[in-house]
């Protein structure tokens, strides 16, 4: 089956720093999303981005489907950005997502 790898696995930043999270996938995909899981376990939908670039405030994402990767950019990080970031992909357009390994982010005040 499709493999989804995220890097880095762990990241510690000072408040105000910028970062780039990467998601590599081993096969073509129909759907791709980025999620933020907060410390209470809730999964928050950041971007639905099977291709192209999107921006939402301090966050932006780019998916290059032909090269099988997606990037999540966080600018001017805040302590509330802490948590785990997951990308999830779906090969067949069924929304049966395969989740990546996750990036655990800690932002220090």
């Amino acid at each position: 089956g499709i493999q989804v790898e995220q890097s880095p696995p762990d990241l510690i930043l000072q408040e105000g720093a910028n970062s780039t999270l990467r998601c590599n996938f081993s096969d073509s995909v129909n759907n791709l999303q980025w999620f933020h899981q907060n410390p209470w376990g809730q999964l928050i939908n950041l971007f639905y981005i099977p291709s192209g670039t999107k921006q939402n405030g301090r966050l932006s994402a780019t998916t290059v489907a032909t090269e099988r990767y997606s990037l999540l950019y966080i600018s001017s990080s805040q302590t509330t950005d802490s948590g785990v970031y997951f990308c999830a992909v779906d090969r067949l357009g069924t929304y049966k997502y395969i989740f990546g390994t996750g990036t655990r982010l800690k932002v220090l005040a």
Binding site: G41, Y97, F99
Partner: protein, 113 residues
């Protein structure tokens, strides 16, 4: 986007017992799914909840252990049966099929003692 309510939000259960988790959506949706997240791990799809027919289970998950009901297009339940400490996880329901992708409930944090 759909609003998804899961109940209970957390529970502590004795081994050998069963727990039923409810997922309520504020609008009719075609696709509903159940995921499991074991401690420190990523999410894994358990099954697709099909309205009017039996759920479709992913490899490694069976109906006897995780029976699922979907009586209508806004509601589903997942039961974790005959629990053991290895079932301690976060269980999440998800709905999808929109141009915005998939959305998740707030999760049920289960601890089995």
């Amino acid at each position: 986007s759909a609003v998804i309510s899961q109940k209970p939000s957390r529970d502590i259960c004795q081994r050998g017992t069963s727990l039923t988790i409810q997922c309520q959506v504020d609008s009719q949706v075609t696709m509903m799914f159940w995921y499991r997240q074991q401690p420190g791990q990523s999410l894994t799809l358990i099954a697709t909840a099909n309205q009017g027919s039996e759920a479709t289970y992913e490899s490694g998950f069976v109906i006897d252990k995780f029976p699922i009901s979907r009586p209508n297009l806004t509601f589903s339940t997942l039961t974790v049966s005959n629990m053991s400490p290895e079932d301690s996880s976060i269980y999440l329901c998800s709905v999808s099929g929109t141009a915005s992708g998939a959305f998740f409930g707030q999760g049920t944090r289960l601890t089995v003692v």
